[in-house]
Amino acid sequence: MEQTDAVLVQRTLEGHLEAYDVLVHRYQRQVHSLVYRMLGNAEDAGDLVQETFIRAFNALASFRQDASFLTWLYKIASNLCIDHMRSRKSKGALSLEFELEEGREPAADRKSSPEDTVIRDAVGGIVHHAVMHLPAKYRVVVVMRHLQGMSIEEIATQLDLPAGTVKTHLFRAREMLRDRLKPVLGMEADGRK
């Protein structure tokens, strides 16, 4: 019988590392998917997935047992992604703020992995590409809202932004996505006829 997250967390807190191993195996795919959507880079995504689980382990005693463990992991992962995007400046890339101020597209998809290539082959690849080329602050809210299913209030709390700002970002992000996905939207409309 499969053990619940709460039981595994409790066993981990009691010093049973193998229980945490089960949690890692259970959720690494979801966390990887989220991180990859935010960063658009498979190599960085792998590093941040590991960092997410290590930080979660070290803060496990602060985890509220009544909350969802996956949601908690998502919070840690998305904040790591935001920090990572902000630190790109020090690695020679454009900073998040600069990208935002200039309205430039973020430096995602710089490295092309087999994972990237496969995704681009499908229609989903076009959508993925459109999401990746949103300015970072728009991409973050789109991923949180439409891929993580977080509410606007939750996003606002997590990003420390007013709810109105989050809504504006979301609105503009959708507008940009709609413009970029026009060909795909047309195909979908044709397919319906």
Binding site: Y20, D21, Q28, H32, Q50, L60, A61, S62, F171, R174
Partner: protein, 273 residues
């Protein structure tokens, strides 16, 4: 022509379209009140352009939400678990549990037979208290709070770090006195244990000091034994030693107990015993 009848003028229709389009995101999110929802819905049912825009927005969101799941290229679990095992103090056992375990072990065994298990528990009680559970919890708490932007209430773990100075002293003193009284096989050794425990109460590293007290008491007992025999022999030979014996013995026990406790603490901290 049919739809134009709903508006008195083209300008009015245009301003209504703007009003509706400004509310489309909230309409999509279900954030509008019932009356506004009805107004937007009525307009969408008669305005082709606004309906087209809304439809495209909906399709856009649907496309994003149905993005395929991205599988990781490799299993990250081995690397994560290796990193966790490598980091110091990965156990979550409470420091107090460790100290209690050390004290219990000392109580259940002869003080002089300080086992490796006892010493390990005692030193781990200190080490993990700082680096493991306590620091881990606080560091993690800071990480989560900073990232999540939520000021969480700190976790009230049973750590000596959480206690006030007076409370730390009191806990250390009580534990050490109990240990000394129960573990010592004679009142003389108990006195040495109490003396050492007084010193233990003044420090924060109660686990080490409790261990040191037991070890010191035991060692002092061994040292005091021959001295007592010698003093008794001298008493028989020279009657004048009789009045001096208790005071000298107490002084001797005090000095040797404190010295042994200091020595044992130093060795324990260095991990050589």
């Amino acid at each position: 022509m049919e739809e134009n009848r709903l508006y008195q003028s083209p300008d009015e229709r245009f301003s209504l379209c703007i009003w509706v389009r400004q509310r489309l995101p909230d309409y999509q999110e279900g954030l509008l009140d019932a009356m506004t929802v009805e107004a937007v819905r009525a307009h969408l049912s008669v305005c082709y352009l606004c309906m087209k825009e809304y439809s495209e927005l909906e399709q856009t969101v649907r496309l994003v939400e149905t993005l395929p799941f991205v599988e990781p290229e490799k299993d990250h679990a081995p690397a994560i678990m290796a990193a966790l095992r490598a980091q110091p103090g990965h156990s979550f056992r409470s420091p107090v549990v460790e100290v209690e375990a050390a004290a219990l072990n000392a109580l259940l065994s002869e003080p002089r037979s300080t086992t490796g298990r006892q010493r390990r528990l005692a030193t781990n009680g200190e080490g993990r208290g700082r680096e493991g559970a306590s620091a881990g919890v606080w560091a993690g708490e800071r990480v989560v709070s900073r990232h999540a932007g939520v000021a969480r209430k700190p976790v009230q773990s049973h750590s000596f770090e959480m206690l006030q100075e007076k409370e730390r002293r009191a806990v250390g003193a009580v534990l050490a006195v109990l240990l000394a009284l129960l573990a010592a096989s004679s009142w003389g050794r108990a006195a040495v244990g109490v003396l050492a425990s007084g010193m233990a109460a003044r420090c924060h590293q109660a686990a080490v000091w409790i261990e040191a007290a037991g070890f010191g008491g035991s060692l002092a007992g061994w040292i005091a034994g021959p001295f007592r025999l010698a003093s008794q022999g001298a008493d028989r030979l020279f009657g004048s030693w009789q009045g001096l014996e208790p005071g000298v013995l107490l002084a001797w026990l005090t000095v040797t107990g404190a010295a042994c406790a200091l020595f044992a603490r130093r060795r324990l901290r260095a991990g050589t015993i």
